[in-house]
């Protein structure tokens, strides 16, 4: 049976991708952000995932406003990044796992989540930047991937509670997959930030720190907010917290916090990183790793 080894939530700002491309990781501006990922990468070496399910939002690369699915699941053998218009270098392609995708799709629809399935899907920076942070360097990505998109672009958005339940359904789907696979779930975006309007630049440190605390053991407390509450408390783009909630919902066991990092600002954003392990998996410690 497939196992969920854990979940990681991280910001996905395009500027991070540019900083990686320019090799700025050790610069004083960037160091507090990038340093947070060393522990995450060390944990990944122990956790040894085969597949990463990446829950994110598409910022107008794959989906335009002509068709805007609330929940969409990739079902392709491979995924490509592409030109997003403002100069981020295009990431190398990602392998998919179509068999697991279709299992997810079957299971989610049976579970009353009427998702859109996508046999072709471009993945944008919200998918590629976290992948580059977790597995830097070139060459083949060490995991297959399944992109899952939640609409946090055009209101009405799904509610935080609905996203948490969606994540739980993803967790059930993975847990019922007969193949022996180790699965990592990523939730990308956040934390507080706002790009548009006279309140652009809005950051709410107090609320972000509350989110980082609650996402570990009391995610239901965050799922009680409405989407509009999140806009008010975390900014227009702070609603990306819903991707974190879906990730957290997918974790099937008691979770253990491995690592967190919080740094203000990168670009216009208060950045967060959270690494969570499924505590019910005693086999995760691998003597050959470390």
């Amino acid at each position: 049976m497939a196992q969920i080894v854990g979940g990681i939530a991280t910001s996905h700002i395009p500027a991070i991708g540019n900083a990686i491309a320019k090799g700025l990781q050790e610069e004083p501006y960037w160091r507090p952000f990038f340093a947070g990922f060393e522990r995450a990468r060390a944990w990944l070496k122990e956790a040894r995932p085969d597949v990463a399910v990446v829950i994110y939002k598409d910022h107008g690369l794959n989906f335009f406003l002509d068709k805007m699915p609330t929940f969409a699941v990739g079902a392709a053998a491979a995924y490509r990044h592409a030109d997003e218009g403002w100069g981020l270098p295009v990431a190398r392609p990602f392998a998919g796992d179509a068999a697991l995708s279709w299992h997810l799709i079957e299971s989610l629809v049976a579970d009353a989540f009427d998702i859109v399935s996508c046999q072709e899907m471009l993945v944008d920076h919200a998918f590629t930047v976290p992948m580059s942070l977790l597995w830097p360097g070139g060459g083949e990505w060490p995991v297959k991937t399944i992109p899952i998109v939640i609409n946090t672009v055009q209101h009405p958005l799904p509610s935080p509670k609905r996203c948490f339940h969606f994540g739980q359904a993803i967790g059930r789907a993975i847990a019922s997959y007969p193949e022996k696979l180790r699965v990592l779930v990523l939730g990308t975006g956040g934390l507080s930030h706002q790009l548009e309007g006279a309140r652009a630049g809005f950051i709410n440190k107090k609320f972000d720190l509350l989110c980082l605390d609650k996402i570990v053991a009391h995610p239901e407390a965050l799922a009680r907010y409405t989407a509009m509450d999140l806009v008010a408390l975390a900014g227009s783009q702070g609603v990306e917290l819903m991707n974190w909630l879906a990730m957290r919902g997918a974790l099937t066991g008691e979770v253990r916090e491995i690592h967190r990092n919080y740094h203000i600002p990168i670009s216009n954003t208060a950045t967060g990183l959270m690494v969570l392990e499924n505590e019910t998996l005693p086999t995760i410690r691998h003597p050959a790793a470390a």
């Binding site: 107008g60 335009f64 406003l65 030109d83 055009q154 790009l195 548009e196 006279a198 203000i264 670009s267």
Partner: protein
């Protein structure tokens, strides 16, 4: 959109169905800027490019002035507008400064200050 749970949050436009309808042509034009050829075509003749996508007069005027708040008022969505701004080398901090009436340096300082709070 009365009857839906929209809250009036000062300085915070909520991109909903009303705005999505109003801004469709503008956002569709900006979506086309994912393609380099289209970015070049826009720069060659901005007016003709706006015409091709059927922008409203208000949208055209906002694009002409590269006025982000006016584009948002005309239904623009920030993720699409960012693609237009990128053509002129403007990033989200430049856009943030413009919308808040601050210098870019002051806008960045405001963000840094949020970290120290």
């Amino acid at each position: 959109m009365d009857g839906h749970s929209h809250r009036n949050i000062p300085g915070t436009p909520v991109f909903d169905g009303d705005r999505a309808q109003k801004g469709y042509a503008l956002n569709k034009m900006c979506f086309s800027f994912n393609c380099e050829q289209n970015r070049k075509a826009f720069l060659v003749d901005q007016e003709a490019y706006c015409e091709k996508f059927g922008l409203t007069p208000a949208q055209r005027e906002a694009v002409r002035k590269l006025d982000i708040l006016a584009m948002i008022e005309a239904g623009g969505n920030i993720y699409y507008l960012a693609k237009l701004a990128g053509i002129f080398g403007l990033g989200v901090q430049d856009i943030g400064a413009q919308q808040t009436g601050m210098s870019v340096a002051a806008f960045k300082e405001k963000l840094e200050a949020a970290g120290r709070s």
